[in-house]
């Protein structure tokens, strides 16, 4: 009598790894969302970049994607295994939100505009600018009393960080969620409209 093969087929093995990767990436397990590369290597094996590529292809149908945030900025060439191990992986929306969907994020339209101003002005100043400068730009769009509150909110959410010298930087969430180059390109491409009055 022929004994049934106990060896897991390659397909079944990857299916199992895909499920495990989905659980790891979707469910928040630490204070910050996402999973570090070394955690994925530990749970999925050294071929985790391949598992992530398969999962990314699958998520494309659902308008989702796997985003990698590198510790020291996106490498110019193909990332090394060490860089991948130190990077953090997230699942994000593949396309952007429509204005109607902004409610899903729980943010008001002027909160989003404020975030756009803060992020764009920091990018324009080589990733670092003083809080005073950002505040002065925000005062043009938001009522004065909300400027401080909003900036603190962006910092708390992980979009911006601030040092002891009141300098603002882009933080991990901006690197994970915002396409910095596209934002600058869109800003430069758009025609100016009539300046609105603050509330």
């Amino acid at each position: 009598m022929e004994k049934p093969s106990t060896r897991v087929t390659r397909k079944a093995l990857y299916e199992r790894k895909l499920k495990r990767a989905t659980h790891l990436l979707f469910y928040k397990r630490h204070r910050r969302p996402g999973v570090k590369g070394w955690e994925l290597r530990k749970r999925l094996g050294s071929d985790y970049p391949k598992v992530l590529a398969l999962l990314d292809a699958y998520l494309e149908k659902l308008d989702l994607q796997i985003k990698t945030a590198y510790e020291e900025g996106k490498p110019a060439e193909k990332p090394t295994l060490e860089q991948l191990d130190r990077a953090r992986f997230f699942v994000t929306l593949r396309s952007g939100l429509t204005p109607r969907e902004t409610k899903l994020s729980g943010w008001r339209i002027d909160d989003i505009a404020g975030l756009a101003i803060a992020v764009a002005s920091i990018i324009a100043r080589k990733g670092k600018t003083s809080r005073d400068e950002v505040e002065s730009l925000l005062r043009d769009k938001l009522p004065g009393w909300r400027v401080d509150i909003n900036l603190d909110r962006y910092i708390k959410a992980g979009y911006l960080s601030q040092d002891d010298n009141n300098q603002l930087y882009l933080d991990w969430r901006t690197r994970a969620e915002v396409d910095e180059k596209a934002l600058v390109d869109l800003l430069l491409a758009v025609e100016g409209d009539n300046k609105e009055k603050t509330q």
């Binding site: 979707f26 469910y27 928040k28 996402g34 989702l64 985003k67 997230f90 699942v91 994000t92 929306l93 593949r94 396309s95 952007g96 939100l97 429509t98 204005p99 902004t102 994020s105 339209i109 002027d110 989003i112 505009a113 975030l115 756009a116 101003i117 992020v119 764009a120 002005s121 990018i123 324009a124 100043r125 080589k126 990733g127 670092k128 600018t129 003083s130 730009l137 043009d140 769009k141 010298n165 300098q167 969430r173 994970a176 969620e177 915002v178 396409d179 910095e180 180059k181 596209a182 934002l183 600058v184 869109l186 800003l187 430069l188 758009v190 100016g192 409209d193 009539n194 300046k195 609105e196």
Partner: protein, 289 residues
Amino acid sequence: MYTMLLCPIQSHGAKVRWVSSQAKKKKSEEHLQRIIDVCKSIEERGLDPFAVDVEDLIEVVRDLFPEWESIDEYSLDSEAVNRLASVIKLQSDWIKHRSSSLYTDPFLIEEKLRKLSRETLARLFLNTWHPIIEMEQISPYSLIEAIKYWQALLPLDERWTKTGTFKTELGSTTRNALIAQRILAEQAFAEELETFWQELKQKAGSKEKILYWDFVGADTYEETSRRAYMTSFLVTYGYATLEIHRLEEETFIVPFSEPRSLVGKKQVISVPVSVSYEEWKQWKNRQHA
């Protein structure tokens, strides 16, 4: 007569020269400090790193270098070089950023940000924003843990019962009884420290210093630990200092004739000294040998 007259004039001239050289040195130090401050402000406040002529400043630092004699002066010089190196790095980063695809004139961007309405800005941002998907869910394991906790929880009326107070009779005690119960020390700490200092001065004798282990070492390890503990206070409170000979690996305790407070006058550093049981054993064996 002529010679006699000349001598005071010569000494006065030397003094004048010395005073003027000191004044020149002070000016040079101030110059160096200004260079450090300029570089620091560029670094910390994100100013334009090309606002300073680094080459010119390096030349100044180089010209001033022969004047330095003390360690403090050399430290100041190295700090200036270090700060200038940081400015050069900022310049290099600036050039890299400028040549990258992300570079755009900041004033142009700011102008756009001011001109565009909130709605347009939000719409633009939404096109480039890909929020993270994250889910929070309680697992069956956490549910079981929660049920166990809930079942073990006492009802509110039981939890909030006031803790009863114990009524005890008033009585009297003696100082000796309190010392026996270790509530009071036999000697006030300051008094004990003073006695310990006198002992150190006596043991240091004419050499005015004593090897650390020769002073703290005692017949028992407990007593050695206590002496090491007291010694640390002697040094901290300015009754003595440590003299460390790194090459010979020897540490001496040097008692002061009067307590000195070095806080705020000199940079105070902590010196970790290990007093382990093995070291105490080795010291004891050496004493018996």
